[in-house]
């Protein structure tokens, strides 16, 4: 039977040929860029931080492409929203790994979201870069997970020493009731008690409440020298406002991860607080980055996490160049090599230990006055 006798077959052949050509064309076009992925909190309680980090990341991609891209191709990042909850973040990571097939995924922000998401990525063999979370459980994620951020053991040591040096001996603590908050509470308490201090009240607050009066009243019963707290932006705004209304601000308030805790608190209420923060930008490279950020986005960065996003992008680009490949395994090997010698980032020199975690992470002592964060 001659094929042209079957009705519609000629048309079908032409259509098939056309679609094959289009697909081939698309595939060729897609290979003209190197893609990596990121999962950020663009909505939800930490949207302010998420947007800030997104800006840092986009600036990094811009700078990489300005220097000629990666392996001669355009460097491109696909950003997905985690919605501030683990389920959405997991779906985003799944999409990046299976649909977009990226070799590297950066993210997220809250440890309670980073941990399950990274566990999935490690299982799939995709490289994971932690650019904001600090739970010590991140160390145990697996062989394809790298951390640019100092984990809590360093942070808690720093906070405990700082509050001890400030003269506080009895503190009341409040932190969110999740992996991050529990880690900070236990870690800080252990470090502070090693120095001889005492944590008289510990409160783990439930996320999403519209009032925290009762929790604050419980804490105030212990008459502490200072309140040590860490809280996510939106909830922290409520806590700070109600602490002010209840008259608790006459006692010093010390914020762990200050820019996160104060990201949504009105400056009038935040004035007078002291705290610590992940080292934001260090040295001349850091200053140049801060200027470039301000030039591109008019306002400076609102939190100290943007530098880690930027460094994550540049570090990945450097690793791909070094490996001369875009497979996850090659990139991981290159990252380990770079981490052994040290990568000059805007957050300082980035070195990894044998568990691929950041060595000697920087921290800053800050205070909030005159409407913004300033070094102490």
């Amino acid at each position: 039977m001659r094929s042209s006798r079957v009705p519609g077959f000629r048309r079908a052949r032409i259509a098939a040929a056309a679609s094959l050509l289009t697909l081939a064309g698309t595939a060729a076009w897609a290979q003209d860029s190197v893609n990596i992925g990121a999962v950020l909190s663009l909505t939800g309680a930490n949207a302010t931080v998420g947007e800030d980090v997104r800006r840092g990341i986009m600036l990094g991609v811009e700078h990489v492409n300005a220097k000629g891209g990666v392996l001669g191709k355009k460097f491109n990042i696909i950003i997905e929203d985690s919605g501030g909850n683990p389920t959405t973040a997991l779906n985003a990571a799944r999409k990046l790994a299976t649909v977009d097939k990226v070799p590297v995924v950066m993210g997220e922000y809250s440890s309670g979201i980073t941990l399950p998401m990274a566990q999935y990525l490690v299982k799939e063999g995709v490289t994971h870069l932690n650019i904001a979370s600090s739970s010590t459980k991140i160390r145990q994620l697996g062989a394809t997970s790298f951390s640019l951020v100092g984990l809590e053991n360093f942070g808690n040591q720093f906070s405990a020493k700082d509050t001890w040096d400030l003269g506080y001996r009895k503190v009341a603590m409040i932190a969110p009731n999740n992996a991050y908050g529990q880690g900070v509470l236990e870690g800080y308490k252990a470090e502070f008690e090693k120095l001889g201090g005492k944590v008289v009240t510990e409160v783990l607050y439930t996320a999403g409440q519209s009032t925290y009066r009762r929790e604050l009243q419980q804490m105030s019963r212990s008459n502490p020298d200072a309140y040590v707290y860490t809280a996510y932006g939106q909830e922290s705004a409520v806590i700070n406002r109600e602490a002010e209304e209840l008259g608790l601000r006459k006692t010093p308030w010390y914020a762990i991860l200050m820019s996160m805790s104060l990201s949504d608190t009105p400056p009038a209420i935040a004035n007078g607080q002291i705290g610590m923060e992940l080292g934001s930008v260090q040295g001349a490279a850091g200053k140049a980055y801060a200027d470039a950020f301000k030039a591109k986005y008019t306002e400076g960065f609102k939190t100290s996490y943007t530098g880690y996003g930027y460094d994550g992008v540049l570090l990945t680009a450097a690793a791909i160049e070094k490996a001369k490949a875009t497979t996850p395994a090659a990139i991981q090997a290159a990252l380990k090599e770079i981490g052994a010698t040290g990568f000059p980032g805007v957050t300082g020199t980035i070195r990894f230990d044998q568990d691929r975690q950041r060595v000697d992470p920087p921290y800053d002592k800050l205070k909030f006055e005159g409407g913004k964060l300033a070094p102490r």
Partner: protein
């Protein structure tokens, strides 16, 4: 001690207006309306929208409560009246669906960020050792005034007498010439408006957010059931009791029992305290605390 009393009255006024509206309407329509607390959320958002576009606060509050009243009336006429033909259980399930719809629509329109009112910062009032923010004081004051007005209407006007008659025996009231439909519409609007006002004033302190209604659902129902569904004054006492339990449970220092200086019940468990009270009360008095009153009214 004073702070304890202040906190109790404060929490009670969060709940009282909404529980009052719920119980009042229940007396006439005879089904528990799960969507009632969402009227409060709706009123809060309308008030926020108006206040942030420049309206004076009092005007925005009134407009918010009127809007909530109209919503209640609209839903009663278009949805619940028809559902009630299938019985109270069908109407209650329908009200659950309506509640979810209202939340979804508001979330689509207003987003999931809580909207804080832009109010001038004033120092809280300090009475004795207790501190009250001015917005909370206004809420308490408004609640008391509205309650007094409501009792006046209920017991000293014809409308109030008609409401009570209709609530206790609808068929006889109808036969006596009372226009059941018109009274139900009036009461629907009023209970919705009161809920909207309650929600708006609560939002002055906490901001207008999507979960405003849901957070109140269980305590408001507990208060209304404790007072006896259909007994609006009882609902207010129910609210007071719930508030008292919640405040007591969180302020009680269990330290001496556990050998520590200070130990408190974690705040997440306070609803368990109120519901334990509700359970115990219902075990002994199934028609609510004000047993005889309900059966008479």
């Amino acid at each position: 001690m004073l702070q304890f009393l202040v906190d109790t009255v404060l929490r009670a006024s969060d709940l009282a207006l909404i529980a009052l509206g719920l119980s009042m309407l229940y007396g006439l329509v005879k089904f528990p309306n799960v969507a009632h607390v969402q009227y409060a959320m709706f009123g809060a958002y309308v008030t926020y929208a108006l206040q942030s576009s420049g309206f004076p606060l009092v005007g925005a509050l009134l407009a918010g409560s009127v809007a909530a009243g109209l919503l209640t009336l609209g839903l009663q006429v278009l949805v619940f009246q028809r559902l009630l033909r299938g019985g109270p259980a069908i109407a209650m399930i329908g009200s659950l669906a309506v509640a979810m719809l209202v939340i979804a629509i508001m979330q689509g329109l207003a987003g999931s960020f809580p909207r804080m009112f832009n109010l001038p910062r004033v120092e809280p009032l300090v009475i004795g050792g207790a501190r009250i923010a001015w917005t909370q004081l206004y809420l308490m004051g408004t609640t008391i005034v509205l309650l007094a007005l409501f009792m006046l209407v209920l017991f000293h006007t014809r409308l109030g007498r008609a409401m009570r008659a209709l609530s206790s025996n609808p068929m006889l009231a109808n036969a006596s010439g009372l226009n059941a439909e018109r009274i139900t519409y009036c009461v629907s609007f009023a209970s919705g408006a009161i809920a909207g006002l309650g929600g708006s004033m609560l939002a002055l302190s906490t901001g207008a957010h999507i979960n405003l209604g849901n957070d109140l659902l269980l305590p408001v129902f507990a208060a209304a059931i404790l007072g006896g569904l259909g007994n609006p004054i009882g609902a207010v006492f129910g609210a007071l009791l719930i508030a008292l339990t919640e405040t007591a449970v969180t302020n009680l220092n269990f330290g001496p029992l556990l050998g520590r200086e200070l130990a408190f019940m974690p705040v997440g468990y306070i609803s368990a305290g109120s519901f334990l009270i509700l359970l115990l009360a219902l075990l002994f008095k199934p028609y609510g605390l004000f047993d005889r009153d309900v059966r008479r009214v």
